[in-house]
Structures are given as structure tokens and as C-alpha cells.
């Protein structure tokens, strides 16, 4: 066994152990911290599987967005009453749940174990046509050309999620503000950190979007980093979120999918069809769409984390 194999086996065992422990944890906060640790380990696993694009996504989403969301949720639930005994599942229910879990796990295991080797893949086709897109990163090429429809719909789903979150708002708070209240004259280490980090984070995010054309990276990873920068400013109470009825906010939310649709429809007239790019300028068009998608993702994710508006812009409840 080489050192590399030992490292891989150790990493896999650690991921499994943390996953099992996260499920088994009795305390909510401990489970959440376990899940954050699990996400970090997963991004190491993705790097070892040479899926660096996925590792970047896992790092940005796991540490920056879902980590913050889950920790805040766990801390908020701390003050709620424990579940009454009457609402806890009885032995029959528990047994049924266990059986269901075992059946699903067995089905998944059977699916993985009986998979054809080598599995059916379109990867050679994608690699053969990569040069036609002008891109160097096959993942970006797949996402933005051959699977462009899926990618566009994924962004639409994010907007639907924002609408879902907003629809939980109280009628009186509609059009109002969500998230932590900004405080005047913030100072101290956290305020310093939240002022120093965003400029660096914005540069790194733009770097990751820009290299995404040829190297691991891309719009979602960069957008998620930008979203994290917005969240650190809000968490440190330096600035609040804008009211949800602001027109520029709505435009920023839909900018990515809208630009994707506009250029996709243009494909009918100047290229082979919907979401097809004209020969020769595919790469600049893709980067153009990605710029708008970065904006939409950077606005969408913090709105999902801070939740529905709960007060009017003036600060009154």
C-alpha cells in the first residue's frame, strides 16, 4: 500500500465516521457542527477524485452558506420547547422508518454494485467537441453548452426558492427587511474583519469565475463566494439587507436566467436553435451569461439564508 492509498483510505474512513456520528448525535448543535466538518472533509475528497470544480462548490456552499444557515438555525431552535412525549414516534413508527431506510440503502447499494464497468459515459464525446466551444474547462463546457437548459433551470429553481422563503413573511412585514439589524458605530475585531475580508473575497471570486473558462472554477463557485462576503457584512451588523421590494434587487435576482433566456432565444435566429451559440463567439457569449449569473447567485443565496422579511424598512416591527 502506498502512502497515497493510505491517505485516501484514511480520508474515506474519516468521512464515514463523521457522517455516522452526525446522524447519531443526540444534540442538535453537535450534529450541525459535525455536518460542517463533514462538508469540509468532502471537499478534500472531491480534490482527491480530481473533481476540483465540485470541491470549490462544496467549499463555498458548505462553509459559507449552508454552514451559516444551519448554525444560525440550531442556535435559534435552542430556546424552543423540547418535543412533547406524545409527539415522539412510537416503536412501530421507528421500526417502519428503519425498514424504509434499510430498503433504500440496499437499493442504492445494489445500483452501485451492479453498475456496468466501464459505465455508460458521454465524457469522450464531450472531450472531443471541447475545442468547438473555445473553453478549456470541460465542466464549464458541459454546464453552459450541452446541458445549458438544465443550468438555466437550476437558476430558476433558486429564484423559486427565494419566492418560497418570502411567502413565509408576515403580511405586515411584506416589502420589508430580513436578517440581522445593522447597528451604528460598529467596531471591534468582527467589524474590522468584515471590512477587510470582502475586498479580498471579491477579487478571489472574480478570479474563480474568470479562470472557470479554462481551469476549475465557474459562475456558481464565484457567486457563492460573493454571497458569503455579503453575509459576513450582515452578520457583523455593519450593513443590513435591502428591503425585498427594491426594484434593483428584483432585477439582480432574475438577471442571470433572463440573460440566459435572451441569448438562448437568439440562438433560434443566429445559430442552430434554442440555447445554441453561433460558431466562433461561443466563449465570449458564455462568459457574458456567466457574469449575469454570478450577480443573480450572489444576491439569491444571502436572501435564502436570512429568511423572510420580518420588519418594515423603518425598523418598526
Amino acid at each position: 500500500m502506498t502512502v497515497l492509498e493510505a491517505l485516501d483510505i484514511g480520508l474515506a474512513a474519516l468521512v464515514l465516521a463523521v457522517a455516522i456520528w452526525t446522524i447519531a448525535a443526540r444534540e442538535l448543535f453537535a450534529a450541525v457542527v459535525g455536518y460542517v466538518a463533514y462538508g469540509l472533509l468532502l471537499s478534500l475528497v472531491w480534490v482527491r477524485l480530481f473533481a476540483v470544480d465540485v470541491a470549490l462548490t462544496e467549499a463555498a456552499i458548505g462553509s459559507g452558506v449552508t454552514g451559516v444557515l444551519l448554525i444560525t438555525a440550531a442556535m435559534r431552535l435552542r430556546h424552543t420547547d423540547p418535543q412533547p412525549v406524545a409527539e415522539q414516534p412510537g416503536p412501530v413508527m421507528r421500526f417502519a422508518a428503519a425498514v424504509l431506510c434499510i430498503v433504500i440503502a440496499a437499493a442504492l447499494a445494489a445500483g452501485v454494485l451492479t453498475m456496468a464497468d466501464p459505465g455508460p459515459t458521454l465524457a469522450p464525446d464531450a472531450a472531443r467537441h471541447l475545442a468547438e466551444t473555445g473553453l478549456g474547462n470541460p465542466v464549464t463546457a458541459v454546464l453552459m453548452t450541452w446541458r445549458a437548459f438544465d443550468t438555466m433551470l437550476e437558476k430558476v429553481v433558486l429564484i423559486l426558492a427565494v419566492i418560497g422563503v418570502w411567502s413565509l413573511a408576515d403580511d405586515r412585514a411584506w416589502g420589508g427587511v430580513a436578517g440581522p439589524r445593522p447597528l451604528p458605530h460598529q467596531q471591534g475585531p468582527l467589524a474590522f474583519f468584515a471590512q477587510l475580508l470582502p475586498p479580498v473575497g471579491i477579487v478571489v471570486a472574480i478570479h474563480i469565475v474568470w479562470v472557470g473558462a479554462n481551469e476549475p472554477g465557474g459562475a456558481f463557485q464565484g457567486g457563492a463566494l460573493l454571497a458569503a462576503m455579503a453575509m459576513i457584512v450582515m452578520m457583523s451588523r455593519l450593513a443590513g439587507a435591502p428591503p425585498v421590494d427594491r426594484r434593483w434587487l428584483r432585477i439582480a435576482l432574475v438577471a442571470g436566467p433572463a440573460m440566459f433566456l435572451v441569448i438562448g432565444v437568439m440562438g433560434f435566429f443566429v445559430a442552430a436553435g434554442f440555447l445554441a451559440y453561433p460558431d466562433g463567439i461561443a466563449k465570449p457569449l458564455i462568459l457574458f451569461i456567466e457574469a449575469f449569473m454570478v450577480l443573480s447567485i450572489a444576491v439569491t443565496l444571502p436572501l435564502l439564508v436570512i429568511g423572510p422579511p420580518d420588519r418594515l424598512p423603518s425598523g418598526k416591527p
Partner: protein, 90 residues
């Protein structure tokens, strides 16, 4: 050299994994947060060492992303346990 870097990566992963016992034991949530913070730094170190040994393209960007967000879990914990107040003396 490659084997040495990989062995160092494995060693650091092992030590911070043992540190995860703090999530298990607590006793308080702040200790659990600290264990996650240590795993974050150790994960970045492991990643840098493994990337230098295996030469995966783009791994240093993953490390950069993780470093950028290293404080987020702890900051989210602290701001939700004691909201920062404007009149803090420090």
C-alpha cells in the same frame, strides 16, 4: 519528497480528526465550534500538502476559498449566541 508530503498530510488529518472528539464531548457549544475551526485549518493544510504532492490543478484555489471562509462557522455561532452590541467596550 512526494511521500513525505503525503505522510505529513495524513498526519495532520489524523491529529485534527482526533481533535473532533471535542465535538463529541463538548461540553459546551463553544468547544464544538473550536473543534470545527481546528478541522478547517487542518483541512487547508492537508489540502495544500496533498496538492503539492500530487499536482492537482486548481487545488490551491480550493484552499483559497476555504481560507476565505475559515471564520464563517465560528462567526455565525458567536453572532447568534451573543448578538454584537454597539456599546461593546473593546
Amino acid at each position: 519528497m512526494t511521500d513525505f508530503l503525503l505522510a505529513a498530510a495524513g498526519f495532520i488529518l489524523l491529529t485534527v480528526a482526533i481533535g473532533l472528539a471535542r465535538i463529541l464531548r463538548g461540553p459546551e457549544n463553544v468547544d464544538r465550534t473550536m473543534a470545527a475551526q481546528l478541522l478547517g485549518t487542518g483541512g487547508i493544510a492537508t489540502l495544500l500538502l496533498a496538492a503539492a504532492a500530487t499536482g492537482v490543478r486548481g487545488a490551491e484555489d480550493v484552499a483559497l476559498g476555504l481560507a476565505l471562509l475559515a471564520a464563517f462557522a465560528s462567526v455565525a455561532f458567536v453572532t447568534s449566541v451573543t448578538p454584537p452590541s454597539g456599546d461593546d467596550p473593546s
